[in-house]
């Protein structure tokens, strides 16, 4: 066990059905993502992407199977511990509306450090202070200092997504989960955003789980997983 580091994510025999739904949304036999690996997960809508991410985040508990993240069995943890684990080790970037409009850019970036002492401590290793760590990340993600004082609502979508990336990356969580983070951006900016994100993930050694239906982005990843193929529930749904 000590010889090789545990996989970032290891899912086995997973099945999950949303409450009051007749069919499972997710049903897969195995998905393994290595530490530091950059994986592109593709799939049309309805292929169970949201459910997969919720399972990885420990937001939902599968009715069957095991979810191991960084060697920890999420499916066996009480919910409070899963909430703690999520903020300690995972950073999330959503499709859009990632930021709380009533917080400043810096406060948005530092949000995980407010809920997690672990992230806070690791962020302090990144910079002299929390603010310095956040500012370093923002600068690395190509956000000029002039923007830092602006209200979140005055940023362009691309800028907002980069702030969200900084929030996901602060305190160097081991896994970054990005749920269609580029779909609201035009194609030039998609490339730019992806470059920055992958660069920062590589910098901190985080595994990147990147979900998108846009296959043009897939080539830059270590591996591509087509969710509609491994999710038996999605195949059954299509057949029905």
């Amino acid at each position: 066990m000590n010889s090789s580091p545990p996989a970032a994510i290891d899912l086995r025999d997973l099945q999950f059905t949303w409450p009051s739904q007749p069919h499972p949304a997710l049903s897969l036999s195995s998905l393994r993502i290595g530490a530091g690996e950059h994986v592109f997960i593709s799939g049309p809508s309805g292929s169970g992407k949201s459910t997969l991410l919720a399972a990885i985040g420990g937001i939902i508990l599968p009715q069957r199977g095991s979810v191991e993240v960084l060697g920890q069995p999420l499916h066996a943890m009480p919910s409070r511990q899963r909430d703690r684990f999520r903020v300690d080790h995972l950073g999330f970037i959503f499709q859009q509306f990632n930021l709380l409009p009533y917080l400043s850019i810096l406060d948005n970036v530092l949000l995980p450090c407010q809920f997690s002492a672990y992230r806070k401590q690791r962020a302090l290793q990144q910079g002299a202070s929390l603010t310095a760590a956040a500012q370093a990340l923002l600068a690395a993600l190509d956000l000029a200092p002039a923007l830092w004082q602006r209200p979140v609502t005055q940023l362009s979508i691309g800028q907002q997504q980069r702030v969200a990336a900084a929030r996901a990356l602060i305190g160097r969580p081991e896994i970054i989960v990005a749920d269609e983070p580029t779909s609201a951006l035009d194609s030039d900016r998609q490339q730019g955003f992806l470059d920055l994100l992958q660069q920062e993930c590589a910098q901190s050694g985080a595994a990147l789980v990147f979900v998108s239906h846009d296959l043009r982005l897939a080539e830059r990843f270590d591996r591509r997983v087509a969710l509609e193929q491994i999710n038996e529930a999605a195949r059954a749904g299509e057949a029905a």
Partner: protein, 422 residues
């Protein structure tokens, strides 16, 4: 917890317009609730302050409440009279310190006329044992002298030396005037906030004088005694309405009450009423209407709270994204619940505080007007114990109400996961 408080505050500030409206609604309902409670309290206090230091009110047998209403508040119909000799026998009782004979029945332009003697100005007390004070002039000296209460003088614009004509009977349309025997205003009393302010005071001899040529409530036909001749007659009254009695020792009050009820030493059946007891009985009757008012203002608070719940619930839809972001950075479902509760409670507390402030402002600006128009003396004051209790219940109700959207948010954040399906 600190971060939750900060987030709740920032988030609420972000939606300050909607929440501000809710705050106004809650402030207004709080103002109404407390305002009604305070007016109720003041009316009650004003009621019980109308007479003070009087140990017994003695009159002919009737209902105790009726005697009190008539003798102290000048409300309701005339009771039977009692004989003057009974009043004098009462005054001679060794337990009695002082007596104030009063005789009612006439009026002046809607204000009751009370006939009494100098003892009224010496012994009558109101409020917390305050004596009557003359703002101008002096007590009655001549037969046709009158002393006005503050309201009478203000409303009718009377000054010292003015001549007034009394009417026979209380209220009603076609009152017979005592036009042949006018009275002169010799004194005006300082304001007391009690029924005294609305009373025209004359001497018992004056009362007797204007009824010399009367019999059975109407002028005797063919008999007319001019004012200048009245002094040739005996102006000692034959009967009066009631006697206010002060005792040398309050401990004797029940003994004397029983003695009077037993009729020992009096020619007629009499009754002695303890003002406090009669007032309490009276208040029991009024209390029903009073409680109805309180119920109504309670409902206003409920409506305000329903608005708050509706506003928070309606905002949940657009906040699901916000809650999911918080979940992704480690907020527990319980934190989401707390966040919403903090918001509800915060709006509630701010609303109640603004309501209190608004009430103080209203009392401060409109209080003098209320006192003048209705005799309700409201003072800006810290909430009394009863009011605090009301406020506490209001806030508690608010907390319970804000739990409703909070629980919904809790469930949503459990079922939404990280991607709200809106």
């Amino acid at each position: 917890m600190k971060i939750l408080l900060r987030l709740a505050a920032r988030s609420a500030w972000n939606r300050r317009f909607t929440l501000g409206l809710m705050l106004v609604a809650i402030a207004l309902s709080t103002t109404m609730l407390l305002g009604i409670e305070r007016v109720r309290h003041e009316v009650r206090a004003g009621f019980s302050q109308s007479v003070s230091g009087t140990d017994l009110v003695v009159g002919a047998r009737t209902s105790p409440i009726q005697l009190m209403l008539y003798a102290i508040f000048r409300i309701g119909g005339a009771t039977n009279n009692m004989g003057w000799d009974s009043a004098q026998a009462l005054a001679r009782n060794p337990a009695v310190a002082w007596t104030i004979p009063i005789s009612l029945g006439d009026s002046h332009r809607g204000f009751p006329v009370l006939a009494t003697n100098g003892d009224y100005f010496t012994h009558f007390r109101y409020g917390s044992n305050q004596p009557l004070r003359l703002a101008q002039g002096h007590p009655m000296a001549g037969v046709f002298d009158a002393v006005l209460g503050a309201d009478v003088a203000d409303k009718l614009h009377y000054r010292l030396g003015d001549i007034i004509i009394l009417s026979h009977g209380m209220g009603g349309m076609s009152l017979t005037q005592h036009a042949d025997k006018p009275f002169r205003v010799v004194g005006i009393l300082a304001r007391t906030g009690t029924p005294v302010d609305r009373t025209v005071h004359i001497g018992l001899d004056g009362m007797q004088a204007i009824h010399l040529d009367w019999e059975g409530g109407a002028p005797l036909p063919g008999v007319h005694i001019p004012a200048e001749f009245v002094k040739k007659f005996n102006l000692t009254p034959t009967s009066i309405t009631a006697v206010l009695v002060g005792l040398k020792s309050r401990a004797r009050v029940f003994a004397l009450q029983r003695e009077i009820a037993d009729g020992q030493g009096y020619k007629e059946p009499l009754m002695a009423v303890l003002p406090g007891v009669a007032l309490d009985q009276l208040w029991d009757v009024v209390g029903i209407g009073e409680n109805a008012l309180l119920v109504v203002s309670g409902m206003v608070v409920v409506v305000g709270l329903a608005g708050l719940v509706a506003a928070i619930l309606a905002s949940l839809g657009e906040r699901r994204r916000e809650l999911a972001i918080l979940r992704s950075v480690g907020a527990r479902p319980l934190d989401v619940l707390l966040l919403l509760c903090i918001e509800g409670l915060g709006v509630m507390l701010a609303g109640v505080a603004s309501g209190l402030l608004l009430l103080s402002l209203l009392v401060w600006t409109l209080g003098p007007l209320l006192a003048e128009q209705f005799g309700i003396a409201l003072q800006p004051a810290w909430p009394a114990a009863g009011e605090l209790q009301l406020l506490l219940w209001t806030i508690l109700a608010g907390l319970v109400a804000s739990l409703l959207p909070a629980l919904r948010a809790y469930r949503l954040s459990l079922s939404d996961g990280l991607t709200p399906r809106i």
